[in-house]
Amino acid sequence: MSIEQKTPIFEVNNLNLTLKGQDILTDISLKIFSSEYIAIIGPNGGGKTTLVKMLLGLDKPTSGEIKIFGKKLKNFKEWYKIGYVPQRVSLVDTSFPASVEDVVKMGRISQQKLFSFKSSEEDKHIIKEVMQTMDVYDLKHKMVGTLSGGQRQRVMIARALASKPEILILDEPNTGVDVVSQQKFYKLLAKLNREKKITIVFITHDIGVIADDIKRLFTINQKAVICNDPKKILSCDEISKIYGVKSHLLHNHQHEH
């Protein structure tokens, strides 16, 4: 079965958002399929985070349709299938009384019953497994506020993975993370995509981070342009146009080789 015949995880048709007379997003249509590794890039203020928030039901579009796993957004209930790591990982309140384990446990809450004050054996197993996957198991008793940016980022992803999602959406995950941690992080994402078949959607304003593993690229700057082969990013004239900085693209392309 070709990829186009499957029900997409996300299907967006003719999405528009106008705020106070200003067009924020115009006529966005895209599909995200199972097991894909996608990057959504675009300049700051181009509407990437707004698009993601609409996909997750946090913001409402002016017009257009969003379907998740084939269901209309308002009828979709299985939110545990979607793991979301928001932009402000580095801005989390450092005095909040939460250990690494407490935060990762949050990822299981929506699937637990009321009055269940102790984690089930299954929950404990999953929590341990995702902490090990994200290499934070040894930190489980540490307070999240005391961790480095890179460690905190892995904890947030472990929490998103704890609900056993089919798709992981990461919004600017590298904010406040050092370069070494970033490299490690890309390898982990590629591994999750390859081995656990988790769909990855990676949002960034920095086109330099685009790794070899990314199969498709959406560029958002009010409008969307889809490039099905990121290796040929230079020949995607539209992307260069929409991004507005062709020399920047050239520079990073050279870096990749």
Partner: protein, 265 residues
Amino acid sequence: MIEMLSYDFMQRAFLAGIIIAVLASISGTFVVLKRYSMMGETLAHSSLVGVAVGLVAGYSPFWMAVAVAVLCAWLIEYLRSHFSLYSDSVLAILLSGSLAIAVIIVSLGGAFNNSLFTYLFGSILSVSSEDILVISIFGIISLIILLVFSKELYFIAYDEEVAKTSGIKVKLLNFLFVTVIAIIIALSIRVVGSLLIGALMVIPTVCALQYKFGFFKTALLSVLFAIVSVISGMTFSYYFSLPSGATIVLSILFIFVISLMVNKQ
């Protein structure tokens, strides 16, 4: 201490004070973590409007306080969730505005007497057995609600947006939470006063946070601090003939200073 406890009114005062210390500090843990501290103060003052209406119109000031505090809590939560209007200034306007309205209602009604002062500063020594029964019943219901949804409320306090995207009914739980907070505040103002309930709600948790424990230990520690400050505050009040609300708050402030010093890095 034993002599003090030989009086019925002191026994009732201690019982009411401890119940309110537990209620205020447990709910206060969520209030502080959700950054709703200012909201506690605002609801305490808005419930005075209910007291004023009750005093003037001849209804029960207590039930009117509950009704007005709950309505005000819903209004604040509605403004916050629909219009992102949750700045300190909006709360400050509601806080001082409701105090002004309460004073005017009482003055116009010719009922500006000790009754309003009772609700402003509390009257822990005039607590009746009936008061204790009402506080206990509603207090237990409120605690059960907080306990049942504690995991969800903790998640929402940590990251409301992610809690929402993981399928938790954030809007509904936030409304339920502010309703419970409004009820606890309205229950407490008769005993500790609207000017002081905010302190009993917020400061024990702020003290406990200084020790950098996880959530459960922080909540337990804040309950302990609140109970200790109520008992010591009331004891000072008895032996030095000082208003109990003020001695309770000074006791918590003392614990706060000690906590800051102990945890100074």
